[in-house]
């Protein structure tokens, strides 16, 4: 089986290429996705090989991108929409939460909208405002949408293809600060054998505390686990992968063993995904917990100027501080 070392961005590109090859109804639409190959080059070379009818440079209007994708999906296409940056998704928010999310329900299953909405999300790249946001809670709160985030090149490659074949609309969050990190990718493995799209994955086994992360924070959590070894603490780390629906059965098992749980995400803590995780874990694991489920998150401020974003984002030290707090309870 061919294994290649690819960046996460290149793995996405290859995954999109596979999806386009597999099904002629798959199309990509967005701003600058054609000749330029996207501002992050995730669609690099695709228009050249698949043509302007399948890789569509759209007018500069996000609601239009999602709204027309709905019509194309009703027509039988499987659109992959690229939103250029997280902070630009809000003009399309109404179409996503009011239309994309609800049409299957309203039509009692007669209208399927197999739409993938790709959003490069999160901070850490020194960008100006509106380019570093974490909008996952907005979408995870909306029934009818599924929300996933990849953290490794292997997952990026498989998950994007799985998302495209799903008949449910999927918000696909790409950790933009990890686009250039490399890892092994099995490029010939059948999609059917890939890790399930909505399954949480154990990425590091450990005994002493459970750390939950997704997207860009998985790398940070793993680094923290390595560093924690020096303190004699053996951390178990999960990559949630699916934010909606959540797959928490392996997490519950873990927390029942470790008795401690720390949730890490870049998004603000208030009403963020960590709140949901803490509540559910508390309900399920109450008698096993040695400490409350703790959160290490971005602050409840607008995303700050780039020169102070390292203070805002959970980093290795802040994750370790969270681990210290759970042991200090």
């Amino acid at each position: 089986m061919a294994t290649e070392t690819l960046t996460l961005g290149k793995a996405l590109n290859l995954g999109l290429r596979r999806a386009l090859e597999q099904d002629p109804k798959v199309i990509i639409m967005g701003e600058d996705v054609g000749k330029l190959g996207g501002v992050f080059r995730i669609t690099d070379g695709l228009q050249k090989d698949f043509g302007e009818n399948r890789i569509i440079d759209t007018p500069l209007a996000e609601s239009g991108i999602i709204g027309t994708a709905i019509g194309l999906a009703i027509r039988g296409y499987r659109p992959i929409c690229e939103i250029q940056f997280d902070g630009f998704v809000y003009p399309a928010y109404d179409q996503i939460v009011s239309q994309v999310a609800k049409m299957h329900y309203r039509s009692q299953g007669k209208v399927k909208l197999p739409i993938v909405i790709r959003i490069p999300f999160g901070g850490g790249i020194g960008a100006v405002e509106h380019h570093s946001e974490s909008p996952e809670a907005y979408f995870s709160h909306t029934a009818g949408l599924k929300v996933v985030s990849c953290a490794s090149p292997q997952d990026a490659y498989a998950m994007i293809q799985q998302a495209v074949t799903s008949d449910d609309p999927i918000v696909f969050l790409e950790p933009k600060r990890r686009y250039y990190e490399k890892g092994p990718v099995e490029i010939d493995a059948p999609l059917a054998d890939a890790y399930p799209l909505h399954a949480t994955r154990l990425v590091r086994a450990g005994r002493d505390a459970t750390v939950l992360a997704y997207g860009p924070m998985v790398r940070t959590a793993l680094d923290a686990a390595t560093a924690a070894e020096e303190d004699g603490r053996d951390l178990e780390v999960f990559d949630l992968r699916s934010l909606s629906p959540l797959d928490l059965r392996p997490v519950y098992d873990s927390v029942r063993r470790t008795g401690r749980c720390v949730v890490v995400h870049e998004a603000p803590g208030n009403l963020g995904l960590g709140a949901e995780l803490a509540a559910r874990i508390t309900e399920e694991c109450f008698y096993s917990l040695e400490a409350p489920v703790l959160r290490v998150t971005g602050y409840d401020t607008p995303y700050p100027a780039a020169r102070v974003e390292e203070e805002y984002l959970p980093n290795l030290d802040r994750v370790l501080d969270g681990v210290d707090r759970t042991f200090g309870w």
Partner: protein, 394 residues
Amino acid sequence: MARGDGGATTRGKRAAPRTQKRGTTGTGDPNLVQLLTPEGERIDSATGPDGTEYRVDFTDEEYRGLYRDLVLVRKLDAEATALQRQGELGIWASLLGQEAAQVGSGRALRTQDMAFPTYREHGVLYCRGIDPIMPLGLFRGVDQGGWDPNEFKFNMYTIVIGAQTLHATGYAMGITMDGRIGGDEGEAVIAYFGDGATSQGDVNEAFVWAGVFNSPIVFFCQNNQYAISEPLERQTRVPLYQRAAGFGFPGVRVDGNDVLASYAVTRHALDNARNGQGPTLIEAYTYRMGAHTTTDDPTRYRIASEVEAWRAKDPLARVKAFLEKQQIGDESFFAEIDEQAKQEALHLRERVLAMPDPQPSTIFDHVYAHGSPLVDAEREQAARYLESFEGSAH
């Protein structure tokens, strides 16, 4: 039903009954395409702002069919309004006054054309052959509109103003990508919206997209003069049909109370679209005679004399006058149609009253195509909770 040669034709199968040479309107607006005056006088042909000549050529049976449609649509709408007043519907959005715009445009669609409505297109829905009870489930609160859009080529009602214009545009892009442009078999899309919707970003984005991709779509704006209480002056400073020029496609204003002109203009625009000539914006100039929905009181925001002026332009009365003048319809014909409408309304009423409430478990159905463990767990939890009442005082 009406299937006459539509749109802009140069020759008719037979000479249309005519009482007036080429003309425009009784209102003196040279840009309002009209083929039947409020007094029931036929106008042979009318010219649109871009020089397109519009005419229709219907058989007597087709004229009678159009009249039948108008009467039935009005009667069913009145029945729904009555049902709401009696507490059988939560709310109703009446089309009273807009029958001609809807029947004219609805009958202009070919079988293969796709329509994207708002929540008021009961007349178009009727023309698409959908059981008129279907939207009543939505307004009664027993479902959210359950017909199959693909079967009837008529999408679900859309309540968020203007959102459907983008869906329609995307669908139209798909027609082009499928190579289904050209000839009588070609497909076209029609998107319905109101004057208020023209202020929405989505409608303007739909115009941009449709223009840029030269999509086979007709934007059919029923300008009924009010967005709930806000008059047209709160939406625009220019006539709405003129907006199209800025997006690079033709715009035309038609007398929306004239079923013949609405048919002709729509048929022509749809044929243009299906033949690869891109979008058209049609502004059907009409008037909502009743409330926006049964929850508002139009006497708070408009004056009686205005309503009366529009009553004189009634879309049904003018067709009836025309049929009488041309001796296409007689007393017994009108009586027969009235009786048919009455029976259908009664039938509708009986069926609405018999509509069962959905089972509580249906709340959880069809949230996702592939299901969700979260929703499944909640379904079971809710079922257990409800079962716990078995045999109790509840």
